[in-house]
Symmetry: C2
Subunit: 421 residues, 2 copies
Amino acid sequence: MKDTDNIPALMADIGKRAKAATTALATATAERKHAALIAAADAVWARRAEIIAANAKDLDFGRDKGLSAAMMDRLMLDEGRIQSMVDGLRAVAEQADPVGAVLAEWDMPSGLNIQRVATPLGVIGVIYESRPNVTADAGALCLKSGNAVILRGGSESFHSSGAIHACLVDGLRAANLPEESIQLIPTRDRAAVQALLTMTDYVDVIVPRGGKGLVGLVQREARVPVFAHLEGIVHIYLDKSADPQKALDVILNAKTRRTGICGSAECLLIHRDIADTLGRDVLDALAAAGVEIRAEAGLPGPDGMIAATDEDWGKEFLDSIIAARQVDDVDAAIAYIRDHHSQHTDCIIAEDQAAVDRFFATLDSAILMHNASTQFADGGEFGMGAEIGIATGKMHARGPVGATQLTSFKYLVRGNGTTRP
Amino acid sequence: MKDTDNIPALMADIGKRAKAATTALATATAERKHAALIAAADAVWARRAEIIAANAKDLDFGRDKGLSAAMMDRLMLDEGRIQSMVDGLRAVAEQADPVGAVLAEWDMPSGLNIQRVATPLGVIGVIYESRPNVTADAGALCLKSGNAVILRGGSESFHSSGAIHACLVDGLRAANLPEESIQLIPTRDRAAVQALLTMTDYVDVIVPRGGKGLVGLVQREARVPVFAHLEGIVHIYLDKSADPQKALDVILNAKTRRTGICGSAECLLIHRDIADTLGRDVLDALAAAGVEIRAEAGLPGPDGMIAATDEDWGKEFLDSIIAARQVDDVDAAIAYIRDHHSQHTDCIIAEDQAAVDRFFATLDSAILMHNASTQFADGGEFGMGAEIGIATGKMHARGPVGATQLTSFKYLVRGNGTTRP
């Protein structure tokens, strides 16, 4: 039993164990990592009753805490969701192993042969909120990419994450890999997060997944590199050149398919010239689908629209709510988005190629879309398999972060007694 | 004239101007950036007398400050070195433009077309010491890669950097690009560095180039992402399987060709079985070449070796000095290097392929070499053209950092009214 009262000592111990596991992990064969993931998937399914029982404790805790219905839904695990988790583990197992891949190779006139080869990052700290299945996804992706991982789940999913983590450890044991390859911080104490963010000797990168509070904390406190995963403040700009049917299809899907995911649309910018025609039709359709519209004053739309307040702009609702306003043209849309988005995903609905080109060239979001639902912002939909999240920073991993994005690289240089003149 | 007394206001102003320049830079054509670099090269040559006069002031300052001969040499500019700077600017101008390059493209069954496209990072802060030519190199590489840059030179090279910067601004003006694309902090005040490291609203990445003091400051204080450029604590492991001639050639070159560069060897690890034979020959040759040897007790070697102190291990001498010790085998060498290197460049001299494979697989240095001089650790020698330095962090850019490594990317997703089921 670990001493969870002395947080600095606990975290230093966890960090040291993770670091110690990196050598074995970096040189672990693809077969062994595959075997660990398959065994973990088997364990999750075999121990599903335990996981559901642990989840029941978390749901009680969540009810007592007064979590919203959306939060409770994200927290809940049933057999269907556990099956998805198992499928996810198996899918990561079957992916190509990214470690050791020769990313580039060339010869120099000096006689040197140079290879750039994919390597693990080392130790990854993953900090996440509510959704307990992240425990399995993040653990699997870090293992696949040869990294040791220190997981810190949300306090709401404490018991569920613990039960899932136990299954991952079963998998590691079955494949004779170090148990310390995947560790879960065994306390809800927030001081553990603080410690994780400053363990420069042991942690190579922090992956935060969560809301503004978490991201703010990480930005203020982290002393190790961060793969920023900001919230998804997704904007859609409806140009005057838009095709009406595409506009209706894409915007309805982007807002209503699932409102709780980071690729869900949160703000609609409507070209002024079509605000009274296509813009109004789109808003009518959203309202008919049960979406609450928080509108700028003067925006034509259905009865029942709510006047937007300052807080509604640049906000991630993660609910059946959308903010809406008019803009003068594509440049005004770009300027507005720059000031209000989170560099996650933004979309233009247009047939005018010049407007699309300008939108694509000028905005620096991780993902830019044209005439496509922002709900496609997802590693699976990008063909990358499972993802740990959608990174919004500009460094290293960006967009969907799968196993390949969790690697670094090194240069291997081969000579034959080669000296530099 | 800028007010250099109010550092926070000065730096906020510089940051805002840099950020404002990013839109024009991100969409600037390759031709325009090329023209700016050629005009800057012309200006450096035309104004070389001014640069040399400014450098004379810096040399006086350095003498008064009692800088070492090595530091004074790094600071000094003459026509030959200015010609090299001009050549460097022209070489960067002629490189392929990395911005907008389609790094990958694929189609998904959903009907989406996905491209990963290279984009500028945004605003880069470069903090460097002594060598004034970094002003030209860093300015050119950031411009080539479509980034705005805020340069902070060493206090020793204050006047030289200012004179070189003026020429870069000439180039920007000639090409009608924003002057704020390349800014130099116009004060030696250290508070400016502090401000630069915490300007999360304006700065996307910090590139520190310098010694331990600078790197330590950046690690403690930075609130923006960092491309760590640690010092080069370069180790060479001499295996018992080494070819004697290759060993002598490579180790002599690695230590003596130029002692002041980061790829210069600083510590030699000798397999115990050959310490009295090849190891001794290598140390004799180093001593004959005038290299001071700081040796572990009991290491066979020439007269005049100095007993190493604890401080000599894991040290970047940047001088005609090398530390030397015995190790039991390749695993002991790897373990020692892990504890003492800076993840920059390490080398194995061996004919035993199994030892080489283990060295390459297990160490996580940015550059690993086999039978080749560590002095090849250089962007030019890697075929990448000019470099801003050798990054030792694991995130994003790693190894030689040229224009291509100073970019990020975004995903451009094209649909046709495509919705997600």
